[in-house]
């Protein structure tokens, strides 16, 4: 069944959806398409695909989080025998792999981006709906293949989520687990590439009339830049994995010394993907937080163009910093990578300044989404600042492969989870038509926020004391044991927080219906119904600024072109 989408002939008019069954009308498809399981298997609707992505990736978060709790239980006591050394290697490898490859990225650019980007620019769907569906099936099959590692003989992959050569070759890591890991990353890699293509094409070609590039919401801008970064970075990883597979099975010696290969080449290739990947993960969450802070401060985004410039600058610089993960190999150009890494602090600082500027003088409403957004800014700031230390080679030599690094990137990724939760609480009502319970959400936030700090702060100290990462047992040192117990307590608080989220989800199921725009938000997606109809819009408002819904709902407080101010009403004045 094919559907021809027409735009209305006037602002506020009806969008006409015509399908090939001859039925004209916005819900014509509802009566003709397949139903039940077949409807889900055959869907090309970006909202359904995005929701499938979101549910699957949150499931991966829960599984990955469960593995993390096992790791923390093992480390709660010195010389622990809770798991064996081999099991511990599998635990931290699969924890990292699930969280990075199967949760953080797919949740952001597959889940929320898929749902929200077409809505924010007034598009009826993603540019390539069938490719979009294929992305999800590739992601799902990749996830299943990676999880299969737990049931094959020899267990899951156990060489760390970075798969460094030569440890990952057939000699040191024989068995199906490692191959399943490679196969899974090949599939999810193609899934990401297709999503990147889709995001770029959608933003370039399907914007509504008047939605110029510099009127797109920051979330959409960030996802466009993420789409470009995916196209730059993921093919490199895919190529690297193919070469790794050839080394393991076809007798090539690309990453082995004795055949004339170069093991450190894997690190170059992996981190040439891996560092842009850090920003592929982070930028969508930056976007979510920007939207949430603007909506709950009732102000336009402060420094809108500066935000976009910062996003592009972060993306550009992120391709020149890969070897700051390799300072201790002794074969990389230290000053180049140190300078480039330190430079990234500038656009990131602009973003943090602008988030504070957006809240400044606004009517801040501390609802759950906003709490998560503020928690994100604080926690991300801690992770970002310790990243500046690590960008300095002398400090990195001292802390490389210690818990200081572990704490640094967990500050960052735990902040990203907060950004994701802010996005779920903020956009959930738009997607489902129902919001979640607020008091439970606030309990969830405080448990997560306190738990996150309680886990990473002792780990920073442990790292400076010299505790290496990836060790399953440590000697009976009272100082290390106490700090590790604090970290474990923090991890358990975050586990409880996740349970509160699940309880909230079940408790709030269809309990709190909402209207089109429950938060009095500003961007275009809040103009349509909650949930949006098939192909998204019955009608569109005139688009004259980066917040068309606000202009429509508050004609007395219209946004003006940049640099122009309507005197005397200050931003955020009561309507």
């Amino acid at each position: 069944m094919t559907e021809l989408i027409e735009r209305p002939a006037a602002d506020g008019g009806d969008v006409v959806v015509v399908d090939d069954h001859g039925g004209a009308g916005h819900d014509a498809h509802e009566h003709h398409g397949p139903s039940g399981l077949l409807k889900w298997l055959t869907t090309t609707d970006h909202k359904v695909i995005g929701l499938s992505y979101t549910v699957t990736s949150v499931l991966m978060l829960v599984i990955g989080g469960f593995l993390a709790e096992l790791i923390r239980i093992q480390l709660a006591t010195p010389n622990s025998t809770f798991v064996s050394l081999a099991e511990y290697n599998q635990l931290f490898t699969m924890h990292g792999s699930l969280m990075i490859y199967l949760f953080a990225g797919p949740f952001a650019f597959g889940g929320l981006a898929n749902i929200i980007v077409p809505l924010q620019i007034g598009a009826p769907d993603m540019a390539f709906p069938r490719l979009n569906a294929l992305s999800y099936w590739l992601y799902l099959s990749g996830s299943l293949i990676m999880l299969l590692g737990f049931v094959v003989a020899g267990g899951a992959a156990d060489f760390g989520w970075v798969g460094y050569a030569p440890l990952s070759n057939a000699l040191y890591s024989p068995g199906a687990g490692a191959d399943l890991w490679i196969a899974a990353l090949l599939l999810t890699g193609f899934s990401a590439i297709f999503t990147g293509v889709n995001l770029c094409a959608t933003v370039f070609y399907l914007r509504a009339p008047g939605m110029t590039m510099f009127r797109m919401p920051i979330f959409t801008w960030n996802l466009l830049v993420v789409g470009i970064l995916i196209l730059l970075a993921f093919p490199v990883l895919t190529a690297g994995l193919v070469m790794l597979y050839c080394d393991r099975h076809f007798g090539t010696h690309i990453y082995t010394v004795h055949g004339g290969g170069v093991p450190v080449l894997w690190q170059h290739i992996f981190w040439f993907w891996g560092h842009p990947e850090v920003y592929i993960l982070a930028l969508p969450f930056f976007g979510m937080v920007t939207e949430v802070i603007a909506a709950f401060s009732k102000k336009p985004v402060f420094g809108y163009k500066g935000m976009i410039f910062a996003t592009i600058t972060i993306a550009a610089l992120s391709l020149g910093v890969w070897a700051h993960h390799m300072f201790t190999t002794g074969v990389v150009l230290l000053p180049f990578f140190s300078i480039m890494s330190l430079l990234i602090a500038v656009p990131t600082g602009i973003k943090i300044f602008n988030w504070i500027g957006t809240m400044w003088g606004g009517k801040v409403r501390l609802e759950t989404a906003m709490l998560f957004a503020i928690g994100f800014v604080i926690t991300f700031l801690i992770g970002g600042l310790t990243g500046i230390y690590l960008a300095s080679p002398p400090l990195d030599f001292f802390t490389h492969d210690t818990y200081f690094v572990v704490a640094h990137f967990h500050s960052v990724v735990l902040a990203l989870v907060m950004g994701g939760m802010a996005g779920l609480y903020y956009w959930g009502p738009k997607v489902t038509g129902y919001r979640l319970n607020e008091p439970l959400g606030k309990i969830q936030f405080w448990l997560w926020f306190i738990g996150a700090q309680m886990m990473v702060v002792p780990q920073y100290i442990l790292g400076l004391l010299g505790m290496p990462r990836r060790i399953a047992v440590y000697p009976n040192d009272p100082q290390w044991a106490t700090l590790n117990q604090w970290a474990t307590a923090g991890a358990i608080l975050m586990g409880v927080s996740t349970l509160v989220f699940v309880v909230n989800f079940l408790y709030s199921w269809k309990r709190y219906p909402v209207g089109n725009n429950p938060w009095d938000a500003q961007t275009l997606e809040w103009f349509t119904t909650s949930p949006p109809p098939h192909h998204n819009y019955y009608s569109l408002p005139p688009i004259r600024s980066e917040r068309p819904t606000w202009d429509y709902n508050h004609p007395d407080q219209r946004s003006l072109a940049h640099g122009h101010h309507e005197e005397p009403a200050p931003a955020g004045a009561p309507a």
Partner: protein, 136 residues
């Protein structure tokens, strides 16, 4: 279309400049080569958009003062639903398994992928533009 072109071209320019500095300074080939390829990924689509942006009239989505009515009419044809992405996904799942558990998994993999490609192509040929074909 010009903003899109500039975005890609400036990124390509930056990667090119950074790549030249890095390659000359470090003499390390893998990174230098990857940065040059990144430059190409900025220049190829960016150059196309620039070329095309100078030849097309601005679209309603490029104009500050466009009204919704300026974009009235057909936006695009979208598939309402399709089984072929799922079929293709099943095929690639078996490709993944064949990399690990043996080549024989490639038999269902190739069968499903070929079937899905034929199905998707014929669906596109049948579907596109047949809007007035009731119950077609």
């Amino acid at each position: 279309m010009k903003v899109e072109a500039k975005l890609l071209l400036y990124l390509g320019l930056f990667f090119g400049a950074m790549g030249i500095v890095y390659w000359i300074w470090s003499g390390e080939n893998a990174g230098g080569m990857m940065l040059m390829a990144s430059m190409a990924l900025g220049f190829l689509p960016g150059g196309y958009y620039l070329w095309w942006g100078h030849r097309m009239t601005a679209r309603p989505s490029d104009l500050d003062d466009a009204s919704i009515a300026d974009g009235a009419g057909i936006v695009e044809t979208f598939p309402g639903s399709s089984i072929w992405p799922f079929t293709l996904g099943c095929g690639t799942f078996f490709v993944g398994l064949s990399l690990v558990f043996g080549v024989w998994f490639a038999v269902p993999a190739v069968a499903l992928i070929v079937w899905a490609m034929l199905g998707a192509v014929s669906e596109s040929r049948r579907g596109g533009g047949h809007t007035h074909n009731a119950h077609g």
